[in-house]
């Protein structure tokens, strides 16, 4: 009694890796490959491609892609209505183009809840575009929550830059 059962243990080791001694004890001692082996996967981002000049020329309103929101608000402010209308016209006249709208939030609060808040901002932009004739299959609204801040300092002036909807065209996402 109270002796370590070394011979039994050795027998088990010879028998195989993942077995459990027949002592009535709960299973333990999983094979180490399963326990510790972690294979690393590397993933990249997506590159961008050529877009027509009207979308990228700094003199064109269509080169502007961001709509900013007030704190806890999901309404498109009047100062951004012209911008959204311009993109709506472009999409309506160029049905081959697709747009990804990414909603963003500031860093305060739960990451997942912020995904949902950013989604409301992206959805507001999508709804405005569709009211102006853009087809549903041309636009997708998604959220990046607080994960992709354009400004990383603390405080309202920075947070305001992160409460944002970004409009990306095919090739940019």
């Amino acid at each position: 009694m109270n002796k370590l059962i070394i011979p039994a243990l050795l027998a088990l080791l010879i028998a195989g890796c993942s077995s459990t001694p027949d002592t009535g004890a709960e299973q333990s001692g999983a094979p180490v490959e399963g326990r510790d082996g972690v294979r690393t996967v590397t993933t990249g981002g997506v590159g961008s491609s050529q877009l027509p000049a009207v979308l990228t020329d700094p003199k064109s309103i269509l080169s502007k892609r961001s709509v900013y929101f007030d704190y806890d608000s999901f309404e498109i402010k009047s100062e951004f209505k012209d911008l959204v209308s311009a993109h709506a016209r472009f999409l309506a006249e160029n049905r081959q183009f697709k747009m990804l709208i990414q909603g963003n939030t500031d860093e305060r609060g739960s990451r997942e809840y912020n995904i949902a808040l950013g989604q409301k901002r992206a959805d507001a932009v999508k709804k405005a575009l569709m009211l102006m004739g853009v087809r549903e299959e041309q636009v997708e609204s998604v959220s990046l929550g607080e994960e992709k801040p354009s400004c990383v300092d603390q405080g309202e002036s920075c947070w305001a830059k992160n409460r944002r909807g970004d409009m990306l065209y095919n090739g940019e996402f």
């Binding site: 243990l9 890796c17 004890a25 294979r39 996967v41 993933t43 739960s110 959805d123 998604v142 994960e147």
Partner: protein
């Protein structure tokens, strides 16, 4: 909860050690339990280097738990075959003495044997042997610490479990890492230029579900850790996020926006058979199954402010769970299903709180400003959270009574999104 003591565990040594992460977590402990058990972990006999490696792990585990006080030994070294001078150990204040040795097996591996003695009863409490290769001596140490913890505390230890978390080491450098519960042995499961959030362990500990932004939008993946094989569990039009495993490991509760708004669905772990779980005109997110699978707890703004609700996993009318305050999010159930950890905004700060589900009594456990992402240790004793200190993301493990706090940080970078894994089978 009564579990059989794992008396004779076998470690196998066919390890495939993959890329070791550069950034190791370091741990700092503040506070301690009210009644720490005085215990001596003797210097083990046998090969001195291996013995030291193991006893260092055992002592570190027990000390960091905040539940033990290490008492220096009277005799040195002590093996499992040594006769213990109980009177001497008692005179130094030790209630228990662990002694052991490291030997070699015929095939060149290490065998760590040990015994735990009760100095008052002058009797053996436990004995075990673990066979391991050199790179895994630490794992054997964790197993020994688990045995000692379980014998002296009366519930299973979690030193052999693993944690998952995300390290941000630059603007475009994100790593999903897996480490031992003490922060050592960190390995990268996924390296990405885009954010990774919400890792969630499968109940068997072999897979993680998480949200990756590598496709410029949130997509839910299931990732097998040993093989690195990834499958898309949810990539519908719109956002896909907040995965949570069902207790049987077959399905995931997820948040999808495909039908408008952030709403709760379930989907097979392989991405098949999507079903709606609940409906609201507002935000429903952060689902979490109760351990018995009966309920899904979640965050919703259906009442005006974000609060925690629960709904039967077969559907029906949700019931509100939190009432105090204007921001209560991220529900996480304890393994016994009796309490719920969550994040509550109090005095402008986001703090870890725990609710006793029967009495609805809430206890706020921290006074920090940016607590996030709580998860229970599988024995229910500690809660792991992300928080911020000096503008940097760190992890913190807080005991459910709030007395013991361990802080885990990496030298370079932010650590966030922790998830404590299940018991290793």
């Amino acid at each position: 909860m009564i579990r059989n003591f794992r008396q004779f565990a076998v470690f196998c040594t066919c390890a495939v050690v993959s890329l070791a992460a550069q950034a190791q977590l370091s741990i700092e402990v503040t506070g301690a339990g009210a009644n720490r058990i005085p215990v001596t972990i003797a210097d083990f006999g046998g090969d001195a280097g291996s013995a030291r490696a193991i006893t260092t792990v055992v002592r570190g585990d027990l000390e960091r738990s905040g539940l033990f006080k290490l008492v220096e030994q009277a005799q040195s070294p002590l093996t499992e075959a040594s006769s213990i001078d109980f009177a001497a150990a008692r005179s130094r204040g030790a209630d228990a003495v662990a002694a052991g040795s490291i030997g070699a097996t015929a095939d060149g591996r290490h065998e760590a044997r040990f015994r735990l003695h009760d100095t008052n009863k002058q009797a053996q409490l436990a004995g075990a042997a673990f066979v391991t290769s050199t790179p895994l001596l630490r794992a054997a140490g964790h197993r020994i610490a688990d045995v000692i913890y379980e014998k002296l505390i009366g519930e299973p230890g979690v030193f052999s479990t693993r944690i998952a978390y995300v390290v941000k080491a630059g603007v475009n450098r994100f790593q999903l890492q897996i480490a031992d519960a003490d922060g050592q042995n960190a390995q990268a499961a996924l390296i990405s230029k885009e954010p990774i959030i919400s890792p969630s362990w499968s109940p068997d500990g072999t897979r993680l579900a998480y949200v990756s932004f590598e496709n410029k939008k949130p997509v839910v993946y299931v990732h097998s850790l040993a093989t690195g094989k990834r499958t898309v569990a949810a990539n519908f039009k719109g956002s896909n996020s907040a995965p949570a495993w069902s207790p049987d490991g077959r399905r995931l509760a997820v948040v999808l926006t495909k039908d408008g708004g952030s709403q709760l669905f379930t989907v097979g772990a392989d991405g098949s058979g999507v079903q709606r779980l609940a409906s609201s005109g507002g935000i429903d997110t952060e689902p979490q199954y109760s351990p018995d699978g009966q309920f899904i707890y979640f965050t919703s703004d259906r009442g005006g402010s974000p609060q925690i609700y629960r709904v039967s996993s077969s559907g029906g009318t949700p019931q509100r769970v939190t009432f105090e305050g204007s921001y209560n999010v991220t529900p996480r159930l304890s393994p016994d299903g009796r309490s719920m950890a969550f994040i509550s905004r109090r005095d402008g700060g986001f703090r870890l709180a725990v609710m006793d589900l029967a009495s609805k009594q809430v206890q706020v456990l921290t006074d920090s400003n940016k607590d996030e992402s709580p998860s229970f240790a599988p024995n229910g004793r500690m809660i792991l959270i992300a928080t911020e200190i000096g503008g940097r993301g760190v992890l913190s493990a807080v005991s459910v009574d709030g007395r013991i706090k361990q802080r885990l940080s990496v030298a370079a970078g932010d650590v966030r999104e922790p998830a404590w894994g299940p018991y290793q089978k």
